[in-house]
């Protein structure tokens, strides 16, 4: 609480006799008894003008009589109004608090517990300039018309600048700038005439607003176990995803082509010698022939050269076949124009690979042969990256 307690005047409810504080100034017109729901006209000697019973009390931590300092001005809450609006059959509720300052007059503080939003609203005298159907301008600021809804009063207690009525409706048109909300409030008075008011609303931090009015704000609850686990999983999955991508790029660049040669369409055997300098890394003999709707079969002999002798290590047979057809969405293909033989060399030294096209379907095609040191299979890294993404997606559904 801020400020010294004011000397308050009291009256007795003209319906139930309860003592009621008079906190507002001379412009207060309606005074609603917090105990019995009697609406009295302050300008007519607190004459009873309406009586409401069983009004649903709105959800607000603020009470009549609380004092707080907003924008260096001391305000007192003198009235509370519970509002409701319906959209697609769903009810949205919020609470307006009539504020009064002896030096700055009347204002509103709005509390929306569902959205955790507090706001401070002052009525404005000026009329905004209409720029076009969607935009208005006021005090150098442009507002874009955003929404229109009908709010209805379902609770009132305390003092107001007019005698509020339960079920009284206001057509609200809201326009937003980057800082404020400009509201055009259209109501119908007792004479059946439309009354239009303009109000400027500023969003406030809900916790700060509670502190301004002396309400002890409980510290935010610690995140739930599920939320914490979800946070950890997100951090872990992002780490894994980033590292997988880096490794994919780096490892792809770390392969070395030891030897590569192109041959004509003769069947061979084509022979390449190469030097193995590490037995740790995977080596690959890669064979390419541009067959189309055709196939070819290759015999590949891998030999190690030791002191002029050849030690056979493996005799491998591989088919390359590639078929395609159709066009547009119906196009298809199967097979590949490549094959590769992956192995770990047993020792450092000289090796030889011989490639013979032993059989073929149609016409003979040229052959390319390469030997690569540091051949890698990306499948596990790709699976890790995909798993990380799956974990990130699952995290939003599970935690």
């Amino acid at each position: 609480m801020t400020g010294a307690a004011p000397q308050t005047k009291t009256i007795n409810c003209t319906s139930c006799g309860a003592g009621l504080s008079v906190l507002g100034g001379g412009r207060v017109r309606g005074h609603v008894c917090s105990y019995c729901g009697a609406v009295m006209d302050a300008h007519e000697g607190y004459k009873l003008v309406q009586q409401y019973q069983n009004m649903p009390r709105p959800d607000t931590p603020f009470e009549i009589g609380m004092e707080g300092r907003i924008h260096e001005v001391d305000f007192t809450i003198i009235g509370i109004i519970g509002n409701v609006m319906y959209e697609d059959g769903e009810a949205y509720r919020w609470t307006d608090h009539q504020l009064y300052s002896p030096t700055h007059g009347y204002a509103w503080m709005t509390w929306n517990p569902e959205e955790g939003v507090a706001s401070f609203t002052r009525r404005i005298r000026g009329v905004p300039d209409v720029m076009d159907a969607d935009r208005v301008r006021l005090h150098g600021e442009t507002y874009r018309v955003s929404e229109q809804y009908v709010s209805r009063i379902e609770f009132c207690a305390g003092e107001f600048t007019w005698p509020p009525k339960v079920d009284e409706e206001t057509l609200v048109t809201e326009a937003y700038s980057s800082h404020y909300v400009l509201a055009v409030n259209r109501t119908r008075n007792e004479e059946g005439e439309d009354e239009i008011e303009f109000a400027l609303t500023e969003r406030m931090n809900p916790a700060a607003m509670q502190e301004k009015f002396g309400i002890e704000v409980p510290p935010p609850p610690p995140p739930s176990v599920g939320s914490r686990i979800g946070g950890y999983l997100t951090a872990g999955a992002l780490t894994s995803l980033a590292l997988s991508i880096v490794l994919l790029v780096v490892l792809s660049a770390m392969s070395t082509t030891l030897v590569s040669r192109n041959y004509g369409s003769d069947q061979g055997p084509h022979s390449l010698e190469f030097t193995v300098s590490t037995t740790q890394r995977l080596h690959a003999v890669e064979v390419h022939t541009p067959v189309r709707n055709d196939w070819a079969y290759f015999d590949v002999n891998l030999t190690r050269l030791v002191d002029g002798d050849e030690v056979d290590l493996a005799e491998i047979g591989r088919e390359i076949s590639y078929y395609y057809g159709g066009s547009g969405d119906d196009s298809w293909s199967e097979g590949s124009q490549y094959t590769s033989i992956r192995f770990h060399p047993p020792e450092i030294g000289q090796y030889k690979v011989e490639v013979l096209r032993s059989e073929q379907g149609g016409s003979a095609q040229p052959i390319s042969i390469s030997v690569v040191e540091g051949a890698i299979s990306m499948v596990w890294l790709i699976l890790t990256a995909v798993g990380s993404v799956a974990l990130l997606v699952a995290r939003f559904f599970l935690f």
Binding site: R228, G231, Y232, L233, A235, G236, A237, T239, S240, L243, S244, L247, L251, M254, Q280, R281, L282, D299, L302, R304, V311, D312, L313, A314, E315, I316, G317, R318, I341, R342, F343, H344, P345, P346, E347, G374, A375, I376, S377, M378, W380, L381, T384, S388
Partner: protein
Amino acid sequence: MRFVVMLLFAGFTGWVGYLTYYGVGAADTDTDRSIRQASAGNPIIGRVK
């Protein structure tokens, strides 16, 4: 705790990277077996497909 979890995930990914770099499990099984046999002095038996 968050750092520990990130470290665990990074460690797992690093291990996958290590396996990828050295081609663990990525060699043609029959070719590798034939090479091991031949290096041990055994004759090559049949053609690997």
